[in-house]
Symmetry: C2
């Protein structure tokens, strides 16, 4: 099989089984994989094309930002949006001596996870010299007399050397849509479990396409690197003749923010109820290791489950250590459809350097059963 | 409900519903919980009652050992046996400046997990000034002229200030057996899922009783603290009127040895085949974090699964970090009866500070599917 990777495709012609390269060359294919990814959502305000405004999507973006910081000797940065990218970039800026300001349209970061989690994220940011500005709408950008950027918001104007905009991504589906490939309700390419689009010899994988969410039973657009990797493997295997299925996702994700781990999987209580479950949640404060063991850190865990059946629907955890571990155990439980009662007595590997005999997961599940 | 805790029971009389305290007082009960634990297996060799020989089972043992070390100004220790207790005690001795010698009857520690794992344990011991002596049978103890202990083995005699014997434990079932409580084939008290013995108002919990192993389908004796905790809770709940079941165990365990994490769950390949499964295993070398990420450490993972169905049967992991986390994900998978194909695409929370997009668990499962 000859495989070609093209980044300059300007048209897909399913009826002719060809793609057009840079508006010119016609290239035939037997199978086509659309892996066009996602592009940053652009901030449509006056001054948006000013130099010094960046989006962070790929390696070239990172190199351009580093170069700009070095040439202009940047000392300050404004981050617009408070998602994964912006929060992770706070740490990156902090490490090179830039104290960023973070402009969030909402009143707390990660509102999806609830106020308790959002407040701890703000606390962590503040402890690391990040100025968090809630309820901030950016209205326009302008230049100061000394060539700095002025960020004009509903709460006043701020001078900065560099602006990084991280307000989400949109699936890049223009080529696919123009070719008649079906786009799902999320705006991303609709695929079946073999990563096949509505056109049988055209597959899609990665940030441009949807995933089946095993907990909600719905197609979602979750542009995450590990999902893209798995989808690509499944698409390739099917084209190669192996009839394997991508079993879908459960919505696991995590990120590190300075000394905090923040991780979640499945549905939040609100999402669960909106999906049609009759769900309940418990929140506990636990410890990563037994009380009194050196290095034991507090962790907060919220667990969501269906009231009647006890089926686990999701969880999120925040803490200085051990958050991601716990979420991955729940991810496995969600994949299998385990109930809270299963988790309440789950046989986890126990030794004091790693957890208590009753892990925070056990404690949350036991609390739920009461 | 009035609950009494007795450690001086000398006889259980199920027909009279009483226990005898120190051969004298008769105490009536409605329900009885036998929680007699386990006792260290004693090393039956000449000189075994010499001062300076210790077993480590509870807090009093630890206090007595510390006192002995302080009064005698111990500089050396001999550890007999290479199980969890001995290996963990190596670190404890090392921390107070005592370089222990470890006498193992076998040719590698943790033989259950195979040679690769055993060799890494020996390497870790050696790097921390623990002298590992394989194939060593202790024949007797004697005293030197300067009141040191001499450990006589098949490979010669060794002088030491203190001896710690850790050659396993046996369930303490003498009271139970004398009362006609059924003892299972493992030598521990047989219980049903409510932790009830063959005598309906007598329950048992902890290291004195058996557990149902969900993977092998057999009753096993696994004297571990977290299992004891869970069993106690189930016994208490049932006596209190809640009809809850202990769902059993999957055989998860872990320990820390200096900078190594060693963890396992389920069955090894040999155990699986002996149980009657037609099993296969894959072993991979992976990394705790993506290649190139600061602090990424090598980890070795062996995964065991049924050949035909792909049902996961067990795993063990060794490495400087991330071993326990992976085992707990597999523990959850074992509880649910997941297959290798489920694990191969399991939606774990991914971010480079915590793991690669393809986690070692994914890689092992993908390898198994080939």
């Amino acid at each position: 099989v000859s495989v070609r990777l093209h980044t300059r495709v300007t048209r897909i012609q399913p009826d002719k089984k060809t793609v057009e390269i840079e508006g010119d060359e016609q290239l035939p294919y037997d199978y086509l994989v659309v892996a066009t990814g996602a592009t940053p959502r652009s901030l449509e305000v006056p001054g948006k094309d000013r130099p010094g405004l960046f989006y962070m999507r790929n390696l070239s973006d990172a190199i351009r930002i580093k170069k700009f910081i070095a040439t202009r000797k940047c000392r300050s940065a404004a981050l617009i949006g408070a998602g994964f990218v912006s929060l992770e970039m706070c740490e990156a800026f902090n490490k090179i001596g830039i104290s960023p300001r973070l402009f969030d349209r909402k009143n707390l970061p990660m509102t999806r996870l609830g106020g308790r989690f959002g407040k701890q994220i703000v606390e962590e940011l503040t402890q690391h010299d990040v100025l968090y500005l809630p309820d901030s709408m950016v209205e326009r950008f302008s230049s100061s007399s000394n060539d700095e950027i002025i960020v004009h918001t509903n709460h006043g104007a701020y001078e900065t050397d560099l602006v990084l905009i991280g307000i989400g991504v949109v699936p890049e589906v223009s080529l696919a849509a123009a070719a008649g490939i079906k786009i799902g309700p999320t705006g991303a390419i609709a695929v079946n479990e073999h990563m096949q689009t509505n056109i049988p010899n055209i597959y899609a994988a990665g940030d441009c396409c949807e995933s089946f969410h095993r907990v909600s039973g719905k197609s979602v657009h979750l542009p995450l690197g590990d999902i893209a990797n798995k989808q690509g493997r499944v698409a390739g295997a099917n084209i190669g003749g192996q009839k394997i299925a991508f079993p879908g996702i459960v919505g696991s994700n995590c990120f590190k923010l300075f000394n905090l781990e923040i991780a979640s999987t499945g549905l939040t209580l609100r999402e669960a109820n909106e999906t049609g479950f009759k769900a309940d949640a418990v929140t506990i404060e636990g410890r990563s290791k037994p009380h009194g063991y050196p290095g034991a850190e507090k962790i907060w865990l919220q667990m969501v489950a269906e009231k009647e059946s006890g089926r686990i629907l999701g969880a999120h955890v925040i803490g200085k250590e051990g958050a991601v571990n716990r979420i991955n155990i729940v991810a496995s439980a969600l994949t299998a459809g385990l109930r809270v009662a299963d988790l309440a007595y789950l046989d986890l590997a126990y030794a004091p350097p790693f957890s208590g005999a009753w892990d925070p997961l056990h404690i949350a599940a036991q609390r739920f059963l009461k």
